[in-house]
Amino acid sequence: MPNALIELKGIAKSFAGVHALKDVSLRIDQGEIHCLAGENGCGKSTLIKVMSGVHAPDHGEIYLEGQLRTQLNPFEAIQAGIQVIYQDFSVFPNLSVAENIALSGELARRRKWIDWRRMRRTAKEALAKVGIELDLDAKVEELSVADKQLIAISRALMQRAKLIVMDEPTTALTQKEVRALFDVIEGLKRDGISILFVSHKLEEVFALSERITVMRNGRRVVTEEARNLNREMLVYHMTGRQIEETHYEAANKTGKPLLRTDRLGLAGCFEEISLELYPGEIVGLTGLLGSGRTELAESLFGLLPATAGRIEIGGESVRIRSVRDAVRHRIAYVPEDRLTEGLFLQQSIERNLIVSVVDRQKGRLGMVDRRTLKATVRSWIEKLGIKAPSPLAPVKTLSGGNQQRVVLARWLAANPKLLILNGPSVGVDIGSKEDIHQAIRQLAAQGIGVLMISDDLPELRQNCNRVLVMKRGRLIGEVEGQTFTPELWAQMHEENAGSETEGKRGDSA
């Protein structure tokens, strides 16, 4: 049996009464790639934080290379060679790219003085390792989510680590970047470094791992060699139920289009976007990083009012200059970055749910009618199966997937006609994802139009009638949802690499 690098025995941890972990034991061997799988809120991130000294366990023991560590803190954990890429990245928005990457290494070497040239050099190497190029002096807050994630990855890779823990490192990455990351991981393994990998994307789990640990409700369910498991078994372990891959049956395009844009443009972000969306349709929108699809969505939602072209809603030309306009036309938008754009972390679940519809809860004297408000909240919590101790608990105490459901519920409560989803299942587990997809399909079946922005090809394939592809601010193609394969996607991009002008109008009109 190979040496255990880290061993957790009987770990228990609870937060103000919520048992996040109950009697969890886990062993990670030298040089192995170990996957941690489980539904949202089953305790994966918490387990990781225990390992890295961020949380002290209530019970249980931690052994590092056979040695019992009673009071592990983050600094010691790093010294002991444990590097974590946190789910929320833990990057510093106010610092430069170079510093974000190199600072923790300097700190771990107990350096007291800063040598800026050395830092830049280190950062450059790290970026080269992951195969990306970024302006070293750019402040991280100016970067996209994906770039932030890549920075968090580069940072962890630069350390003399024995174990690298990756808590959903691929949520914001494109296929290409994911492949680059996997190459890096293979390389690390060859160097004898262990990897603990958390992902909700089962393809990734199977592509990478040697052993898989499945957790459910704060307990470890099973630890098994990857080759002894298949998709169905894994899903069953995770959810305790069977889930089949289903496809959304498209409704027939009937009547007037719900949304029609005519050569919509926003200076510097996108141009000549003409698309149509019919009631009951789920239309996918995808593209490479920085393709402008987020900006397009935000334009439709009035956050970045378009500077050219026309928008029609229900056949009527409308102007959307502000979120108010958009909401008035019953457009809803579930943003890309849940933590900063979607949620009020300190506020209660209840308030997060009703914030966008609070004006409609007016009762006597224009006061909020608490009875209907609570009824609304309760019904949405039940409909989306949000797992929460109480609707009055701060939303920050929820796990990622449950947080996403809160944001979704907020906009569903607004009873939209057009629902724009930007990464609706980023960081959401397979069971929840299925639930969210079901909810979206039901909405579409009721006649709502859905525009779904996603990188997750299976998700697009399963749910979308059509998928629009964007590149560099322009639509470059449209594909039937069910036929949208990775190969086709890659092909579309390559075709357009040289001959951009041709694809300008896209096939969407």
Binding site: R324, V355, K374, G431, D435
Partner: protein, 355 residues
């Protein structure tokens, strides 16, 4: 809509039912509870130290004439702080608006005005103060929301601006000789209660309704905790901020009116020590300086605590500097209690729950 979910949420059984349980309220609002305890302790301590002066009707009535001014200003400060900002200009606004009102009542009113006419000028003065208070607030709100200047800078500048304007208008002198009827508001009683206290109560009720019961209040608190998410959530941040600062200005103007009624004069520099005090009361009352949270009950208790302390120590004839010293200690004790209180209780309860 029903979705097949494997795990049904375990709903909090109490949520949505309207039964009041003290234990639950205490658990939820531990901070308020502790503030309440501290208020009572301070009151009892003061009563014990000087029972003959502190525990008299006169003493309570004297207090009731004192704290409404600062109480109303603290409410104004609270609103700005919930939005994640701060309003240093409230005292400037109070003085400027009350000077405008006093000018209306003193300079414009003809000397031989009859009762009716005098009432009209008084009403005009009050209206003028309230409107200008809203305008002062809108200026702040506009600079914060539209121009994007940090609130602390805006209101520091506008504080100077408002006081400066007040000085230019009055050349620094006090405006005196307000109509008799008006100053009887500030020093008189209605059904046995001091009028300023009633005004304060009215402000409390309206601010409570606004912040806790109106959609505006919920939007304000959400905006305070995450402005970006508020924008994405369909809140019109500009409108909410404008309203917030306008309200803060309005409350400041009300405080200004109470002040001139109480002192029968208006002056550019009255109450300058109230600025830091109102911040102190707001944070002691549980307003999060980073925005998003604030409870009116907390403000009321903090105001009362400080008033008990102040009057109690005055009765002991200790120096006013000693009062500062004790205030500081009480404030920090409140905060430390809030911080370690819940942990301590939780640790005590833990064995029960893990069975």
């Amino acid at each position: 809509m029903s979705i097949p979910t494997a795990k049904r949420p375990e709903p909090d059984s109490s949520y949505g039912r309207f039964s009041f349980s003290l234990r639950r309220w205490m658990a939820q609002d531990g901070n308020l509870m502790r503030l309440f305890v501290i208020m009572i302790v301070v009151w009892a301590a003061m009563a014990m130290l000087s029972p003959r002066t502190f525990l008299t009707i006169d003493s309570f009535s004297s207090m009731a004439f004192q704290f409404p001014e600062i109480g109303i200003l603290a409410l104004a400060m609270m609103l700005a702080m919930i939005s994640g900002g701060i309003d240093l200009s409230i005292v400037g606004t109070a003085n400027l608006t009350s000077i405008l009102a006093a000018m209306m009542m003193v300079r414009l009113m003809p000397a031989d005005a009859g009762a009716g006419e005098s009432a009209m000028y008084m009403a005009l003065g009050v209206l003028c103060a309230l409107v200008s208070g809203v305008l002062c607030g809108l200026l702040n709100g506009w600079a914060v929301a539209k121009i994007g200047i940090p609130p602390i800078l805006v209101t520091l500048g506008s504080m100077q601006l408002f006081i400066g304007l007040a000085i230019v208008l009055t050349e620094g002198k006090a405006i005196v000789g307000l109509p008799e009827a008006f100053s009887s508001i500030g020093n008189g009683t209605l059904v046995g209660l001091p009028v300023p206290l009633l005004v304060f109560a009215a402000c409390i009720v309206s601010v409570y309704a606004l912040v806790n019961r109106r959609p505006f209040g919920i939007k304000l608190q959400m905006l305070g905790s995450n402005p970006t998410a508020a924008r994405y959530g369909g809140i019109d941040n500009t409108a909410v901020l404008l309203k917030t600062y306008a309200l803060s200005g309005l409350l400041a103007a009300v405080a200004g009116l109470v002040i001139i009624a109480h002192t029968n004069s208006a002056k550019a520099d009255y109450g300058t020590s109230y600025i830091l005090q109102s911040i102190l009361i707001a944070v002691m009352g549980g307003v999060n300086p980073n925005g998003g949270f604030g409870k009116i009950a907390g403000i009321v208790m903090a105001v009362l605590t400080l008033q008990f302390l102040s009057s109690g120590l005055n009765a002991l004839h200790v120096g006013n500097f000693f009062k500062d010293f004790v205030w500081g200690i009480v404030l920090i004790l409140v905060m430390v209690a809030n911080e370690i209180g819940p942990k301590w209780r939780w640790r005590r309860r833990q064995p029960e729950s893990s069975v």
